[in-house]
């Protein structure tokens, strides 16, 4: 499957150049002012100018995202384990889990602000809520879809229930859990920014990326606003990349999803 490096670098590079060309072309052709659609170099310049503010805002948002994410990972795993083993409880709760998953976090956010006030706790709660359900949905599936033959094998071995849980069901659910984490990692950033957008407050004159969005927009500093998007994008990459790395570390020796490239 390995293609030479150049053939993997050129297509995205070329696409990027075409895109940049179209961007500048559109601005020149239609005389779009920079406060509506700034050129890429203006965005980069504004981002560089505001680097301290943006970095601090990104750190603040990252804190909210990762704390919510970690809480959702731990509690989601435990909750899934319980659901995986208690069939009647699972049947009772699945409709409500789906219901919660369908509820847009934008609507929940003001409610959290009402309960928790402005600031980090509300942002963590929003990030937690948006992460929790994909983790639970995936992990529960992992606990319940263990190969039947393997379950029989453990029965033949007269395994204790505890051994079956720790030696069979936990490892079997692990790839599903990690898939849940990957989905949640993307959502955590979105959740934290949304949360900050609605619940952020400028502590020491710096809010999170959501708060900076509000600030720059109200001042019509549009290149800076695009800079926020760029920063959020970079933060998302770091976050998702970290989770993907974790997943690779855990699975690369044995799991199909990680082996496909090598075969």
């Amino acid at each position: 499957m390995k293609s030479p490096l150049s053939s993997r670098i050129w297509p995205p590079l070329l696409a990027g150049l075409v895109l940049l060309g179209a961007w500048y072309g559109a601005i020149a052709l239609y005389h779009i002012p920079s406060y509506i659609f700034p050129a890429p170099h203006l965005i980069l310049a504004a981002t560089w100018r505001e680097r301290r503010t943006l970095a601090q805002a990104a750190l603040f948002t990252f804190e909210g995202a990762i704390l919510g994410f970690l809480a959702a990972a731990v509690l989601g795993f435990i909750f899934s384990a319980v659901l995986g083993f208690a069939l009647s409880l699972r049947r009772a709760l699945v409709p409500y889990i789906l219901l919660f998953q369908m509820t847009p976090v934008v609507i929940l956010a003001p409610i959290y602000v009402l309960w928790l006030g402005q600031g980090l706790p509300a942002i963590i709660a929003i990030s937690y809520t948006i992460c929790f359900f994909p983790i639970v949905a995936n992990t529960t599936l992992g606990f319940t879809s263990v190969d039947r033959n393997l379950v029989d094998l453990f029965a033949i071995c007269r395994s204790s229930r505890l051994s079956e849980v720790f030696r069979l069901r936990f490892p079997a659910a692990l790839p599903f859990f990690l898939t849940g984490l990957k989905i949640a990692a993307t959502l955590a950033c979105i959740g934290a920014i949304t949360g900050d957008f609605l619940a952020g407050s400028a502590q020491n004159s710096v809010g999170g990326l959501g708060f900076m969005t509000v600030t720059y927009f109200s001042q019509l500093r549009i290149p800076e606003l695009f800079g926020v998007a760029l920063t959020a994008c970079a933060m998302g990459f770091v976050f998702v990349g970290g989770v993907n790395l974790l997943s690779w570390c855990v699975l690369h020796q044995w799991h199909e999803s990680a082996l496909k490239l090598e075969k």
């Binding site: 033959n149 029989d152 453990f154 071995c157 490892p171």
Partner: protein, 254 residues
């Protein structure tokens, strides 16, 4: 009939309204190798699961060593249709697993696992993961794992069904060779009549819906059996007889 290793007394099994097995009477003495053949859906696998105590009969009795099958499970092991290895464990740890679950101490079970791997000629693969092995090698790991507990009864559910014929023939010979060093009584489900004749002391033919015993064929060839047996006239005669029995079931169904 007392003293038999295993006895099925008028065993039946229903799944809801559907009868999977009915009126099964079968006795196995120590050291027998009994093959179960029959068309799909005749309850061969269900029969193995009943013997293993993985499922309970809805009628009749399964008697192992004059007792119920549950407590006797210590001396039983099951080889599945698929290798059924844990993908996150290395080969050696997979072979150790049954001993580990029974609380055997690490040095002892490790040594035992290596012995078994030597027996199936897979020592070099001990530290590999299942995905790194071929289908035939994985099946041999599965057999090594089964033998690690030195079972008195080995239940094999079509273990070589997914393999090519050459691999299957070789594993058949290996299986018989393994029986010389660790004797077990075997129940072997297969779709291959040739495999059944080569391995068995007795072939039990089942007919479907519901599964019943349709015929029993004794296979008198002495052990050890060599691969040349497959070309002998007696072998071919028994092969023809067993195939005939199967065809009779098939034509009765039409």
């Amino acid at each position: 009939m007392s003293g038999a290793l295993l006895r099925l007394e008028n065993v039946s099994k229903r799944f809801g309204a559907a009868a999977a097995l009915e009126g099964i009477n079968l006795t196995a003495e120590r050291g027998e190798f009994i093959s179960l053949i029959g068309p799909s859906g005749c309850g061969k696998s269900t029969l193995l699961r009943l013997i293993a105590g993985l499922t309970a009969p809805t009628g009749g009795r399964v008697v192992v060593d004059e007792g119920p099958p549950g407590p006797a499970a210590e001396g039983m092991f099951y080889v599945f249709q698929d290798p059924t290895l844990l993908p996150w464990l290395r080969v050696r740890a997979n072979v150790e697993l049954p001993l580990q679950l029974r609380g055997v101490a690490r040095p002892e079970r490790r040594e035992r696992a290596l012995q078994m791997l030597k027996l199936v000629d897979l020592m070099p693969a001990a530290d590999k993961y299942p995905w790194q092995l071929s289908g035939g090698m994985r099946m041999r790991v599965s057999i090594a794992r089964a033998l690690s507990v030195a079972p008195r009864i080995l239940l094999l559910d079509e273990p070589f069904g997914a393999l090519d014929e050459m691999t299957r023939d070789r594993l058949n010979e290996d299986l018989l060779a393994l029986r010389e060093s660790s004797p077990f009584t075997a129940f072997f489900v297969t779709h291959s009549v040739a495999e059944a004749v080569f391995l068995s002391t007795r072939i039990v033919v089942l007919s479907p819906s519901p599964g019943r015993l349709s015929a029993t064929i004794d296979v008198p060839f002495p052990f050890p059996r060599r691969r040349s047996l497959r070309e002998s006239p007696e072998f071919l005669r028994l092969l023809a007889q067993a195939s005939h029995e199967l065809r009779q079931i098939d034509s009765a169904l039409r």
